[in-house]
């Protein structure tokens, strides 16, 4: 389990996020939603050990502050919003960097085939020999996802809880690939991994998330299942525009529609 208690982050004298409580268990997909600038990425950076924070974060029971880089890397993998490269790596070389920590629980014999398998999962079969810099933004994002997958995939298949931190994993993808990636994240959770994803699409969130954490102005505005969290009043207030929540008849999943009057 990944657990955060009273986490605050200040940059200079400005408090970016205040007293956020959060948890994700193995088997869960937790979505973080909220307007631009509400502190979602900052919070994820604190969880990744990238930003100094006040409060307490534990990963599988261990205090994050006491973990070395490689220890944290063996428990969770992080997908950043975008990754620019200055050297001509091939797609396969990038994906294989996911295994560069050396403590990824991958058996020696399996290591060679893993990049291809990860690439297949993100619908990039046959891309291994292409140059990363020549791909489109959405393709690059999926290459990075394959890399991140390599880092924590093997232990999850062996039953050890591992986590994916995904910062806007689908924001540059077409709808087909949004669904492929969200299903991949769901599958990762179903096999005993935990996923934290920052998402902007509330409908995808309602469809795939077990739990939603709504952030607003650096604080947690609500947390719970999609049914509990997604209400007209709450999301209209948080996103500062008029939104209407309905329920899909068969599945009982909520959906969100903007009102034509807008603001």
């Amino acid at each position: 389990m990944i657990e955060a208690r009273d986490v605050s982050v200040s940059i200079g004298t400005k408090k970016i996020i205040s007293d956020v409580d959060f948890e994700v268990k193995p088997g869960e997909l937790a979505a973080i939603v909220g307007p631009n600038g509400s502190g979602k990425t900052t919070f994820l950076k604190a969880l990744s050990g990238e930003l100094a924070y006040a409060g307490r974060v534990t990963m599988n029971g261990r205090d994050l502050a006491a973990m070395k880089a490689w220890e944290a890397a063996s428990v969770r993998a992080v997908l950043p919003q975008a990754t620019a490269l200055s050297f001509p790596f091939t797609v396969r070389e990038i994906v294989k960097l996911g295994l560069s920590g050396g403590r990824t629980g991958v058996l020696a014999g399996e290591e060679e085939g893993l990049p291809e398998r990860a690439l297949a999962r993100v619908d990039l079969e046959g891309f291994a020999g292409r140059f990363y810099q020549e791909l489109s933004g959405g393709e690059q994002q999926r290459v990075q996802l394959a890399r991140v997958l390599c880092q924590v995939w093997a232990p999850v298949l062996q039953g050890t809880p591992r986590y994916l931190f995904l910062d806007e994993p689908v924001s540059s993808l077409d709808i087909k690939h949004q669904l492929i990636i969200m299903n991949l994240a769901r599958d990762f959770a179903a096999r005993g991994g935990g996923v934290i994803a920052i998402l902007h699409d509330l409908n995808l969130t309602a469809m795939f998330a077990d739990r939603i954490f709504v952030m607003h102005r650096g604080r947690l505005a609500a947390a719970g299942s999609p049914q509990e969290v997604l209400s007209d009043e709450l999301i209209s207030r948080v996103f500062e525009c008029r939104l209407k929540v309905g329920v899909l008849p068969a599945a009982g999943t909520p959906f969100v529609l903007p009102q034509s009057a807008g603001l």
Partner: protein
């Protein structure tokens, strides 16, 4: 590619490597480069004003018993072992040091244009070296007493280290290195170092001026076993540290935060890289003056050939850097024979247009 089919001939079949995996090709390239370096070394030992031949040298190594009768004359022996061999050893050490330093620095700054010569590290090292040459007998006398022959390379190392640290501090903010800032800060730092160097040269007496002129032209001509003894330990330790940086530098290509997420202790990696580069460049500058562009040309060519994976790029750079410097030295010795052209002129004549070519090919590079 020709390289792949050649690798196939030697049983390193391409089918062993999945698509996008250049490791087999890289390993084969390293073998070829090692053979090429061996040939270059022999060629350098054999060529020169005297007709002492490489063949005779090899025969002397293999069958020393023949020497007494017809192999090497005493004159040839002196030429090969006391003049050419130290020069070749020095060329190999410095060529390897400069090329690998360039590659490591490019990895560290995440930019293919970073080069110790371009961004002022060599100028800082020069300042350190000139300080010792000019002030070694007076102000810095206590230092010279303690450190002996190591004073010059260590001072150059200190100068290079100080410049690299300042440069990194200025051009990197929140883990991102701005290329434009890096190059401009490098120009400023080099100008500053050269100004101080100028003051020292102004203070120098006649004998020191002769030393300085000889040294600052950039040449392997002054190579002696004694000088090698002073710089080889520093260069070898620095070169030995660099392979351990390879995995970390690969991850660093994705950015500092991502390297850290992959489990790389980024802060430690950066400090080790900076110290190793400063040591290798400092020691090189101390004995051979400023030899430019090796650090930018060699890694760039190799990236085109085997890709940017530092696990292969660093050793390949060491081998090709050593060969290139020996060839440049051969040119510098023969092109205006019996006089000698400073080797720095040879490397700059080839390297500067090459650098411009990189800029033309990748104009977007400065916008990074």
């Amino acid at each position: 590619m020709a390289l792949d089919s050649a690798a196939g001939l030697f049983g390193m079949r391409r089918s062993l490597a999945p698509e996008g995996d250049r490791s087999v090709r890289a390993k084969f390239a390293i073998l070829v480069l090692a053979a090429f370096l061996a040939a270059t070394v022999l060629f350098s030992l054999a060529s020169g004003a005297s007709d002492a031949s490489a063949f005779a040298v090899v025969r002397d190594w293999l069958f020393p018993s023949f020497s007494a009768t017809d192999a090497l004359s005493l004159r040839d022996r002196v030429i090969v072992y006391d003049i050419r061999l130290p020069r070749v050893v020095m060329g190999v050490l410095i060529g390897a040091a400069l090329a690998v330093s360039g590659a490591v620095m490019q990895g560290l700054f995440r930019n293919p244009l970073a080069d110790p010569g371009l961004v002022g590290v060599s100028a800082g090292a020069s300042l350190g070296a000139v300080s010792v040459i000019v002030l070694g007998a007076t102000v810095l006398a206590p230092l010279t007493m303690v450190l002996g022959t190591f004073t010059l390379p260590l001072a150059a190392f200190a100068g290079g280290l100080a410049t690299t640290l300042v440069l990194y501090r200025i051009s990197t903010r929140q883990g991102r290195t701005s290329v434009a800032t890096m190059l401009l800060a490098g120009i400023a730092l080099a100008a500053m170092a050269m100004a101080f160097t100028g003051v020292l040269i102004f203070m120098a007496d006649d004998r020191q001026l002769r030393d300085l002129t000889f040294w600052s032209l950039g040449s392997l001509a002054g190579a002696t076993w004694q000088k090698i003894g002073a710089v080889a330990p520093i260069i070898i330790v620095a070169l030995a540290a660099m392979p351990f940086l390879a995995r970390g530098l690969n991850a660093l290509a994705l950015g500092e935060a991502t390297a850290n997420h992959l489990g790389i202790p980024v802060q430690r990696l950066k400090y080790v890289a900076i110290v190793a580069v400063a040591a290798a460049v400092g020691a090189s500058v101390a004995v051979s003056g400023g030899i430019g562009f090796v650090g930018i040309v060699v890694p760039h060519l190799l990236r085109l050939l085997i890709g940017p994976d530092n696990r292969y790029l660093l050793p390949a750079s060491a081998l090709l850097g050593a060969s290139m410097l020996l060839l440049a030295d051969a040119v510098s010795r023969t092109i205006v024979a019996p006089a000698e052209l400073p080797i720095g002129i040879v490397t700059a004549t080839v390297g500067a247009p090459f650098f411009l070519w990189i800029l033309l090919r990748r104009r977007g590079i400065l916008d990074l």
